[in-house]
């Protein structure tokens, strides 16, 4: 089997209220996260809600990065969905973790789009086995 995409679902808990409410800073962090992961930005759209909270998506040529923040709970939900072998979403993860400074995190990795093929490849990373290894190294 070959997988077309690789999706990280990240929960950042215990972030600062002010940064989670700052749409400009969050947009900059997300755009930069796309760049450090090796992705090509197609368009990025960000909004600040009243009374609080920011939502934003960076559409990349290799799928998307998204964030939704709940400053009142110190919580942000982040999605890093990438495809192709030239983008490493863990680099975006590390960059965002450094920028948002969560006190705790929880991350799920989901393989998207399994297509019959003779190579055990995922969208990101060389092979499924190597990706699991890379994940273990990361954790």
């Amino acid at each position: 089997m070959r997988a077309l995409g690789y999706h990280l679902l990240i929960e950042f808990y215990g972030c600062g209220h002010d940064i989670l409410n700052d749409v400009g800073k969050i947009k900059n962090l997300m755009d930069e996260a796309a760049i450090v992961s090796g992705a090509s930005i197609v368009e990025s759209v960000f909004h600040r809600f009243n009374p609080h909270g920011v939502s934003g998506v960076v559409v990349i040529a290799e799928s998307h990065l998204a964030i939704h923040s709940w400053p009142e709970y110190g919580y942000a939900a982040v999605d890093l969905f990438t495809c192709g072998e030239d983008v490493n979403p863990w680099k975006a993860y590390d960059f965002l973790k450094k920028g948002l400074e969560p006190q705790s995190t929880s991350t799920k990795e989901i393989i998207r789009g399994e297509i019959p093929g003779d190579e055990d490849r995922v969208g990101y990373g060389p092979t499924l086995a190597k990706t699991e290894h890379a994940l273990r190294e990361h954790l």
Copy 2:
């Protein structure tokens, strides 16, 4: 515990090539899916890639809906991430399934943002127990 968000990760396999390459039709389907689910659209951005494939995100006041299509494989990855009790992402799911006519599907539901609280509530739906019941009814 209370959960802030409810996220469906959907794989649609065996869709028609032409519809998965038609950025106008896909945008209309996704916008309409947001509306039928009860969500409020903030902004929707869609792009068609060369030689094929469509990516798009509908930012809603209640998080986002996203799609990435691989017409060459008849495959689309759909994310329906909602929060609040007034949006039912399964209505968007049913609408998109009818519109994209996949031959097979695979869906994961992920609870996002678990916050201490005295009610077992998820972003969508009344209570965790009722949501599980609703899910079983749906399946």
